[in-house]
């Protein structure tokens, strides 16, 4: 799916890449730590949840070459389970989030078992259909509260000590979760497992002939991606004290594709940038109603026709070319 073919990298290039990654990561963290002083923290928390969601999605498409059009099912399902366990079962916050994440992981395992039986376009259609099935389940199941969702979910206290009612405290808690997820993805991509995954993305037949059980690698990628999407969804439900049908709807699956595509498929920082751009667009244009949908559609079309590397993809390409000349 990614446009660029990795050129032969020398040790020198690798050192440069590592330095670039480290600098970019530090810049990102610095911005995220300072940002709540200037921007409304509730909006930032939403953007951070979407950013983690998009990073999880990007793990699958950018490094596994699998386009899932049903990732909302993990975000939404984890949200419902985390809200239910925090509100009805009285779980402490961190356990509620883990419960939601666990639900998404199990769902990801079964959805993945089915979806990886086909590739490419079929994979996208199957994940979309499975997500729609989950949507109807959530619409009808008694515990989800139908159109109302689960409301007034308590935020609780971290480890029973730090109260999360304050938005600022909550923000840094979300930031910690995001950072952990982000670093985990970074670790996965650069592990031997991640290298095999990239090999499968680029040439599955060759990976099979080298003796890799590619379907296991793909399933693992799917489950990991689902779990991290679930982490984002579970956190989001706690932050907004609400789990609703919006998060399981197919348009959410489309939005995460859009965030990742706009930020740059297969780049490490692209999904974060894309998530912040799309979240601010929704936040600041929300009174324009249907125009948001139209704008999203236009961004899709422009990205596909003329801007396939996305924001971070273009920036990274520019940095590389500047270094070469």
């Amino acid at each position: 799916m990614t446009d660029h073919t990795d050129a032969i990298t020398t040790a020198h290039d690798e050192a440069w890449e590592a330095r670039y990654q480290r600098t970019a990561f530090l810049v990102m963290m610095a911005i995220l730590i300072v940002l709540p002083a200037v921007v409304y923290p509730v909006f930032l928390m939403k953007a951070l949840c979407f950013a983690l969601f998009a990073c999880a999605f990007n793990l699958l498409i950018g490094f596994g070459g699998l386009l899932s059009f049903g990732h909302a099912m993990f975000l939404g399902m984890a949200g419902y389970l985390s809200a239910q366990s925090a509100k009805v079962w009285g779980f402490p916050t961190e356990l509620a989030i883990l419960t939601g994440m666990g639900a998404a992981t199990v769902l990801g395992f079964f959805a993945g078992l089915l979806a990886i039986r086909r590739q490419g376009i079929y994979f996208a259609m199957i994940t979309l259909a499975l997500a729609q099935m989950v949507f109807f389940f959530c619409l009808q199941a008694p515990f989800t509260g139908g159109e109302d969702g689960i409301q007034a979910v308590p935020r609780g206290k971290i480890l029973g000590i730090i109260d999360l009612t304050s938005n600022t405290v909550m923000y840094y808690f979300v930031l910690a979760i995001f950072t952990a997820g982000f670093l985990l993805i970074h670790r996965i991509i650069h592990s031997p497992y991640g290298q095999v995954l990239k090999a499968i993305r680029d040439n599955e037949a060759r990976a099979i002939s080298l003796g890799y059980r590619t379907e296991r690698f793909k399933l693992a990628a799917f489950v990991l991606s689902a779990a991290l999407a679930g982490l984002a969804g579970a956190t989001k439900a706690i932050v907004f004290q609400l789990a609703s049908l919006t998060d399981v709807h197919w348009s959410m699956s489309g939005e995460v594709v859009l965030m990742t595509l706009l930020g740059g498929l297969g780049t490490v920082f692209g999904p974060v940038v894309g998530a912040f751009v799309i979240a601010s667009m929704e936040h600041y244009l929300s009174e324009l109603g249907a125009w948001v949908t139209i704008a999203q559609g236009i961004i899709f079309v422009v990205c596909v026709l003329a801007f396939r590397r996305g924001i971070m993809g273009e920036i990274e390409a520019w940095l590389r070319s500047r270094r070469k000349s």
Partner: protein, 294 residues
């Protein structure tokens, strides 16, 4: 009143009828998707939006220009099909050398634009489309009441499906089309204008979707979001049938419509999800789909 498995026959047959109606929409739409996929290798996500455009177009012809249902049946597929031709020429044709997934993303974006624009213009509420007078009323068959319009939709879409099948599988033009699906550059070497064929094929598939929209207008409310939830079900239908064969798309479409209708009678809670469940089962047993080839 007679009963079958504890269900009154009247209810059973009326749900079967609704199932057949839904089935004709599934068949028409998955047929269009299969025709487009065969030649363009693109899954047309805009299909649902184009179906909706068809219904809206019929609504406008009636309420702005006073042109009735029968006119709409001719004009709407041509008009919406023409917008398809424009989309193919301007956008899709630039993507054929890239990964097929970009086609999916582009058509998804177009679907958002079209749906958003219609929602902006007309709001989310549905608008009624009055049935043509010659098709109102119905006949009592003894075991059930058969509304004329519904019978017409089933027969007409069956005829169109079989006509398309005949066109593609049994005519010279269809033979060229199938040859171009197998090996476009070879067919081009024989002097056939393949790019034009691709453009017209996309227009034809889009026209089919629009025609389904006209059929749907008197039954369902005409609303901007009428296509988006339908298209996801149709995707599942396509996965179940496999996109290899035209007849497969038709049979799966009608068959799944009937199964869905029966589910509404015997286990209504599952009627929304039954097609997705069948998809999951088919994927486990026969991943390439019932009529698909490896």
């Amino acid at each position: 009143m007679s009963e079958i498995f504890g269900v009154p026959t009247q209810a059973l047959f009326s749900q079967l009828l609704i199932g057949l109606i839904n089935g004709s929409f599934y068949a028409l739409l998955s047929l269009g998707l299969a025709v487009i996929f065969g030649l363009l290798n693109i899954i047309n996500f805009t299909h649902g939006a184009q179906y909706m455009m068809g219904a809206f177009c019929a609504y406008f012809l009636l309420n702005k220009f006073g042109l009735g249902y029968w006119w709409a049946l001719v004009i709407v597929p041509l008009a919406v099909g023409f917008t398809g031709v424009v989309i193919e020429r301007l956008m899709l044709s630039r993507l054929y050398k890239l990964d097929h997934l970009y086609g999916l993303l582009l058509t998804f974006g177009l679907a958002l634009i079209i749906e958003g624009s219609f929602r902006h213009q007309f709001g989310s509420a549905g608008m009624p489309y009055s049935m043509p007078e010659s098709l109102t009323g119905g006949t009592n068959l003894g075991f059930m009441f058969l509304p004329k319009y519904r019978a017409w939709v089933i027969i007409a879409s069956l005829a169109i499906c079989l006509g398309t099948w005949f066109l593609i599988e049994r005519t010279k033009l269809g033979a060229l089309l199938r040859a171009a699906t197998e090996n476009p550059s070879m067919v081009q070497a024989f002097g056939v204008n393949v790019p034009r064929m691709i453009t017209l094929t996309y227009g034809f598939g889009v026209g089919l979707a629009a025609l389904a929209g006209v059929f749907a207008a008197p039954i369902y409310q005409v609303s901007p979001q009428m296509g988006s939830s339908l298209i996801i079900v149709v995707f599942a239908v396509v996965v179940i049938g496999g996109m290899g064969s035209i007849m497969g798309a038709i049979l799966t479409g009608f068959g799944l419509g009937v199964i869905e209708g029966l589910t509404k009678v015997f286990y209504p809670e599952a009627s929304n999800t039954v097609i997705f469940v069948i998809m999951a089962i088919v994927l486990m047993i026969r991943p390439q789909g019932l009529f698909g080839q490896r």
